[in-house]
Amino acid sequence: MNVVETSGLAKRYRSTWALRDCTLAVPAGRIVALVGPNGAGKTTLLHCAVGLCTATNGNITVLGDLAPGSLDALERVAFVAQDVPLYKYLSVRSMVAVARNLNSRFDQAQAEERLRALEIPSDRKVGKLSGGQQAQLALTLSLARDPDLLVLDEPLARLDPLARHDFMALVMAAVAASGFSVIFSSHVVSELERFADYLIVLARGRVQMLGDIDDLLAGHAMLSGPVEECDLVGEQFAVVQTRKAARHAELLVRTTGNSELPSGWESDDVSLEELVLAYLRDPSASMLPGPLTLDELEASEVT
């Protein structure tokens, strides 16, 4: 089952296209990182997936074939928006009660247990909690709904390092216990590998790269060799990024289907951060159709 699937998804706000022609299929059971510069359309894509906005063009379905925002989808998809919206004037206890009453599935005991463990006092006003605590509270409420998909919009942006660690630890532990899918967006690329096993790179409203992180890293390499041979070698591969020095050059290439390394050249692994930045620097570089086309991706999910 694909936990999110879009086809030609486009969204326009007045005269700006936040998303244009966005096509992807994310398999279930993954922790997905949605990455891209500010303004790339990450928030818009996530909002479309949780039913907060409707697309201008194209389709999107979640959890197989559910329409985002439909009652069936709302029941199984939990969302924490970018600025962690909560009712600031309510006490934590009241906030939990509101969440409980707005959902048919809600594990009150689990929520209370987690808040106790996080040492968030239940009679304090939500507005008086720290940023990290508010994020933890929002996350706890989402997790108590026992979702099949958890969507987080830049959850770490406003958190200090310790809060970030605790927040993601909570997410990871919940996934370990319940096995749901997660999609979180981030404009910070470093340390993504720690959390995510699937990556989507969005730039200017389009998908530049997507796939299992292991596959992506295995499918790229950094070639280095004499600068005179650079262009010749570059023709044999799909080059993502070229960097030339006086006597040597470095080419970041896609390697699938190409195993012959020219003599005198070295090949090295690429880090995820290097890879993502290289794609982001070159807007014309696109992985799609890349190592796998969308059809092949879907075909491989059937197994």
Partner: protein
């Protein structure tokens, strides 16, 4: 691959009943302080009315005991009438206070309902919960509507009870624009309208302060318009005419009293009056007042009965009036118009919410 809690097919077939009790709890939690404030205002109004009414109790009891209801022209009745005429302030104050209620509810309950969510971003939380945005808005609106309708209807009925002695004596009338709008059903529907308008404006504008201001202006403006003009227009509709009444003046809204049958059917309401002259044409206002002046001069001299004087001079005094039995028809029409408006506004609100992307 990953296991999903419950197969997709089963989830789709599962019904989604509307959780009224749960939404009641949510509405209470979200608007606790506003609802408590409202309750305080309602109770305060009720207490003020009861206290005011108690103040009139003794005088009215005497009025009735002295047989003034059947015949108000014998001696002590005039004193009681004067007392009531001089003690309308508490009553008038409550009439004004109740007029403010629909505005208050529209501004403090209706306008912030959606605008606060939109402004603060909490709609991104609420509208992604399992209940769904449409049902959340509809249930909240219905619950609040029921609450304010019942309470304001009760207040309207209380005011009616307060007004009763004044109406019998003839100082106030339920047909009056001030009181017409403040009966139980009317106050309830005005409040419903205020709530619906406030909510609609709030969902349209998305900024709380602006929504509150616009709501106050529209609801307040319409109430004023109703007081000054709309009620008169409504009540004039399809008025009956008669030429058999003793002239009392040209103003709208003169009251026909119980016990003074010369002035037309008991409890009816004068909507307009005019004179026609010997040539059958309608007299201008100035000419009409001239005629009235001469008529009363002659009557005071003791010479001629006013009606005789008129017929001798070939003047006819026409009135348009509404019989008492029609009062409820106008109440129903007015209430229906307000309810219809409220319903349309509510539907528009839900539509706005549903399509906000």
């Amino acid at each position: 691959m990953a296991t999903v809690a419950g197969s997709p097919v089963l989830a789709r077939q599962r019904k989604h009943p509307v959780p009224w009790k749960a939404m009641a709890r949510v509405t209470w939690l979200q608007r606790r302080s506003t609802l408590i404030g409202l309750l305080v205002v309602f109770v305060g109004c009720a207490v003020a009315i009861v206290v005011g009414q108690a103040g009139t109790h003794a005088s009215y009891a005497s009025f009735v005991a002295n047989g003034c209801v059947q015949n108000r022209f014998h001696t002590p009745c005039g004193n009681f009438e004067n007392w009531f005429a001089n003690n309308t302030d508490p009553f008038s104050a409550m009439v004004i206070a109740l007029h403010v209620l629909p505005v208050v509810i529209g501004v403090f309950v209706g306008a912030p309902l959606l605008s606060r969510e939109l402004e603060s971003g909490t709609f991104r939380f609420t509208w992604t919960q399992g209940i769904g945005r449409s049902r959340a808005v509809v249930t909240t609106l219905v619950l609040l509507a029921v609450f304010v309708t019942l309470t304001t209807c009760a207040l309207g009925l209380l005011l009616n009870w307060f007004a009763h002695p004044f109406e019998i004596i003839g100082i106030e009338s339920q047909w009056q624009s001030g009181l017409f709008d403040m009966t139980g059903p009317m106050l309830a529907t005005w409040t419903l309208f205020g709530l619906a308008l406030g909510t609609f404006v709030g969902s349209l504008i998305g900024r709380t302060v602006a929504a509150m201001a616009v709501t106050a202006a529209i609801v307040g403006g319409l109430l004023v318009a109703s007081f000054v003009w709309l009620v008169h227009q409504l009540e004039a509709f399809g008025a009956l005419t008669s030429t058999r009444l003793v002239p009392m003046g040209l103003g709208v809204g003169q009251l026909n009293l119980v016990g003074s049958e010369n002035n037309g059917p008991v409890g009816s309401w004068l909507v307009r009056a005019w004179f026609t002259g010997p040539d059958g044409k309608r007299l201008s206002t100035a000419a009409a007042y001239n005629v009235i002046g001469r008529m009363f001069d002659e009557a005071n001299k003791g010479k001629v009965d006013p009606s005789r004087w008129l017929s001798v001079h070939h003047y006819i005094y026409w009135v348009g009036y509404q019989p008492a039995s029609r009062f409820w028809i106008f109440q129903v029409i007015a209430a229906a118009i307000l309810t219809l408006l409220a319903a349309l506004l509510a539907l528009a609100t839900v539509r706005l919410v549903r399509h906000r992307a």
